[in-house]
Subunit: 463 residues, 2 copies
């Protein structure tokens, strides 16, 4: 599908779903069944984690229906789900019936779930995350179904067809994605503004997630809000804030129909970056800006990653932290000492869109992960196309597990000026992440309303 | 264990765990293995729900350890868990080793998880919630393990032994439970104070959960924050607030070691209860106060439920909504037309404590659920003992599924003054819930600091 780039009123859900089914029918002949999955319990059966439907199901069914399935064939949609039991109204109030839901999503037919058994022959499917439903899928199909990242045969063909549709967002998806970014931008502004009064990481997290909750959205992933920016997947929030700290916040909202956003900002707890923090921040920002300036249809995302690596190494050479020229340094993976992850990933219904399928979505057919230290963590290796939404998230981190690794110390002995680096000890982790939509002739940064220049962030903190 | 009632400095975690193990050894001879469980994924493997360890494991291990097991025998604790893989430090930073954790919790020995297979003979256990670990439990034990509410044989004996210990909280537990209530009280105050500026349910929810997040706690259960108080298990937050509405908020915090609180308040969106709202609220509050005044060791919790029913029916007779005398009305289950749930439940590591075991914890051996409409939803039927923590949560609701049920309309044709009831249409749902600790000679209301009188709530809203 070619993204029109023209902003029209988003079409109705049922029309939009119909269009998605038609696209699938053009790419895939066999009948398809997709399951939504079941809610998972926390510490006892009635205490459940908030339900999240499987994303492939959501893409074609539009609603977070629990324990439902859809059958897709030649653009026709059949819904399988049970009506709520009469006793449920006592506890849950009036709930939509199967017929009402079928009507909302434009299903051609609708049956109780047990009827699904009669429509299961020769179908292709994608397994869901929850183990109970996964086992039911296997049982109904009468065959083993591996986890979603290891699909084979017609299930893999189906996955590839769905990937090729979901890669480029349609208008309905974009409308939702923009809603999610808008709320995430507000959340980050609230976090920045709350900092001077906050004493702990968790208080900043509260200000940010509070905005997401107030807009009746959920977090698309577990927030990172930390003064230990060098811990890349940090989900602790107990640290007190100290005046020399930077705070790194990676927080994104998800709409009720499951569309995600993903933003990171880094700012100074005191309201003022130190000179060293400022220097490194501006290197990361330069990489961020250079990447976005280069992005357009036809450009390889891998080259955007390498561009970020080049700008970062160049900046670190200028600061006297690295020695040599940036092209050679990137060739030697020296960027990954400080920027060990990829420049970004697909964004859509999943914050790492379609990552349940392993690299099927992220890597163009025939490509696979590099074993290079400086490329192996790249989650996306495709040519950019209009309608793709990706994150751009360069960073700089002083990760002890990397910088104290004797092998790296040896290999990069003469590449890094370790004494100079020691002067930047107040820069533990910086990341700047925005959500970038590829348009017909360039990009649209969905999260552009959130400042990323130091002066603007410092101004925001003070107001 | 007899609760001392004297507030001393809580003992260290490892001493407290040791005491719990000793208690278990006195009640149960066979070796025991308890698993913590695994984190569950949301829409793709790396996007996980926040991990919550199994509560029985937590009670004896004290920490939220993922994918770990403990072996308990004669008061001895052996910990089984793997050290974090070296690569994990890149993404997760420095993590505690098995030895460090063993030291913190006072384990006698500690081994990698695979060693557990050598210590599994003849053990009793309780299955965890997550299906993957449950299947591993069955496989290791070489026997089928039903879900936790259907245990048999020595597993059931173990469950009963654990219940008899967990029923009455020790000092360490109480210290945690009080932390949770304190934060929940603050959350409710914030919700009440945010109301006059709020436009939607979700904005009030945000103010409340924001406090919980700011204190680095989690919600013990999915919050209820709704103008549709008559929908008992309402987890939607999309309704706009309208000036005649009551808002019912059932929100509770959980500490990082898993101890829960559970509070409900109901207040007027406009800041002022209407006359009808005031009348019914005061009936519910009278029931709440009467229950707490009657509670002490030796009292049957079932009688507390019936007392609430009596006060509520009496109040509704006074208001002209019910006809007859309250004793007869309760006998006829007329209270359940408006108060269809139980007066409360056990509270501890689970918000419905030990409800994974079905009614093993809630119902004294030999007792079972009543099939009476006005008693069947009671979750706790035991004599109160010092150290027990229970909720007291009377309510009044106009549930369409009950009040429009033709069978009930017929049965209570002459019991309810339906015309008079119609005058109270602005009272959709009211609940007042506090957390009540049984002491040696009465009660201590852990949530007493939160106002529940109309004048006090209205004052709080305006300040």
């Amino acid at each position: 599908m070619i993204y029109s780039g023209i902003c029209r009123k988003p079409m109705s859900l049922s029309l939009s779903l119909q269009q998605r089914r038609k696209q699938l029918a053009q790419l895939f002949d066999d009948p398809v069944v997709l399951w939504s999955g079941k809610a998972l319990s926390r510490n006892f059966p009635a205490n459940r984690y908030p339900f999240r439907a499987n994303s492939h199901f959501l893409y074609f069914a539009g609603l977070q229906l629990e324990n439902a399935a859809i059958h897709l064939e030649n653009g026709k949609l059949t819904l399988f789900m049970d009506n709520p039991p009469p006793a449920a109204t006592l506890w849950h109030g009036e709930m939509a019936t199967r017929e009402q839901i079928a009507n909302t999503i434009g299903a051609d037919e609708a049956y109780p779930l047990k009827e699904l058994a009669t429509r299961i022959t020769d179908i292709a499917t994608i397994p869901v995350q929850d183990r109970v439903t996964h086992q039911e899928q296997c049982q109904l199909l009468g065959r083993d179904l591996p986890v979603a990242k290891a699909l084979k045969g017609k299930d893999l063909d189906l996955a590839q067809a769905i990937v090729s549709i979901r890669l480029c967002h349609d208008e309905n998806a974009l409308a939702e994605l923009k809603k999610a970014s808008k709320v995430s931008v507000k959340a980050h502004k609230a976090g920045i503004r709350a900092t001077l009064q906050a004493k702990t990481e968790s208080e900043i997290r509260s200000a940010m997630e509070g905005v997401i909750i107030a807009h009746n959205m959920t977090c698309a992933y577990n927030s990172i809000v930390t003064v230990q920016g060098e811990v890349l997947h940090n989900e602790d929030y107990h640290n007190p804030l100290q005046s020399g700290d930077l705070i790194l916040a990676d927080v994104g909202a998800e709409t009720d129909s499951g569309w995600a956003s993903d933003i990171t900002r880094t700012w100074a707890v005191s309201g003022k970056f130190s000179a060293t923090q400022r220097d490194i921040y501006n290197v990361v920002l330069a990489a961020h800006d250079a990447c976005i300036a280069k992005m357009r249809p036809g450009v390889e995302y891998r080259d955007i990653h390498l561009l970020a690596a080049t700008v970062i190494t160049g900046g670190l050479v200028d600061l006297g932290i690295l020695k040599g020229n940036s092209a050679d340094l990137v060739e030697q993976d020296a960027h990954a000492l400080f920027f060990p992850h990829g420049i970004g990933h697909l964004l859509g219904l999943d914050v790492h869109d379609m990552e349940d399928l392993g690299d099927v979505a992220g890597y163009e057919t025939g490509r696979s992960r590099s074993d290079r230290f400086g490329l192996g963590y790249l989650r996306l290796d495709r040519k950019l196309r209009p309608g793709m939404l990706v994150t751009i998230e360069p960073g700089f981190y002083q990760v002890p597990a990397i910088l104290n690794n004797p092998e790296f110390r040896q290999k990069y002995q003469n590449t890094v000026n370790w004494e100079r680096l020691a002067q930047f000890s107040d820069v533990r982790g910086i990341r700047i992440e925005d959500d970038v939509l590829i348009t017909n002739n360039g990009t649209e940064v969905l999260t552009a309303e959130l400042p990323n220049k130091i002066a603007e962030i410092e101004f925001l903190m003070a107001t």
